[in-house]
């Protein structure tokens, strides 16, 4: 998706199991859902 919006220097940070222990934990695990950080630059 980011490739289609013209950003450069895309970087990905670490991923976290943010739903662990929450009410939606089983649903989140079904789709391997993670919290993630990312960054990019407008050229």
């Amino acid at each position: 998706m980011l490739d289609h919006t013209g950003f450069a220097e895309i970087r990905w940070g670490h991923q976290i199991d943010v739903f662990s222990g929450s009410k939606h934990e089983s649903d989140a695990h079904e789709f391997d859902t993670r919290g993630v950080t990312f960054s990019g630059v407008r050229p």
Partner: protein, 204 residues
């Protein structure tokens, strides 16, 4: 991330109403219990510095509902103009305002007025004069083009059915050379289209 992302077929206005209702509850009843983690325990889980969290007003911390830490991708520089999309109760806005200092500025945009009130109250409590809270949507940002140095966001784009529209708006408002630092949700397994199109699954 080279796959084209199509907008989900949900009624955008109805979805916005449901999400506004949910996050109004997070603002005014933070102890109610939600399908996601909130508050100080969540901030600790996401790696926020404990001293930073202690500096923030409790009214902002208690309604925090992010999915990561945008500042883990880099600290902001003094004097920068920052946009926080879906700023919620404002903890990222307030931390950003401290990082950019009095020579910088942070614009917090959220579609839930109760959250914006928390951000304004937090800025006032901390004596920050470089924070402005605006009502608006991620897909239609109330900012001029090429007007900000940094866009931050935390756990918001996953709630928007047209993610491409959001990222195009991020591109539009950033100055050339500007950057985004975003935390959000990523699913590693394909979600069935009928689930994507089921509005009741979006806000839980």
């Amino acid at each position: 991330m080279t796959q084209q992302v199509l907008a989900a077929k949900v009624d955008r206005d109805e979805l916005r109403e449901q999400i506004q209702a949910k996050y109004n509850d997070v603002a005014v009843e933070p102890d109610k219990g939600f399908h996601f983690h909130t508050g100080r325990p969540l901030a600790a889980m996401l790696g926020y510095d404990e001293a930073d969290v202690d500096w923030l007003p409790e009214s902002a911390v208690e309604s925090f509902a992010g999915t990561g830490n945008p500042f883990s991708m880099g600290r902001l520089a003094e004097g920068e103009v920052v946009l926080d999309i879906g700023s919620g109760a404002g903890i990222d806005t307030l931390l950003a305002a401290r990082q950019v200092g009095s020579g910088g500025r942070v614009i917090a945009v959220d579609m839930t007025e109760a959250m914006l009130e928390k951000t304004r109250a937090g800025a006032a409590a901390l004596g920050l004069s470089n924070v402005e809270a605006r009502l608006g949507y991620a897909e239609e940002l109330p900012l001029e083009s090429a007007s900000v140095d940094v866009v931050i966001s935390n756990g918001v784009i996953n709630l928007c059915p047209d993610k491409m529209a959001v990222m195009k708006e991020v591109h539009r408002v950033l100055k050339p050379g500007g950057r985004f630092q975003i935390a959000d949700i990523l699913v590693h397994k394909e979600v069935p289209q009928d689930a994507k199109d089921d509005i009741d699954l979006w806000s839980g």
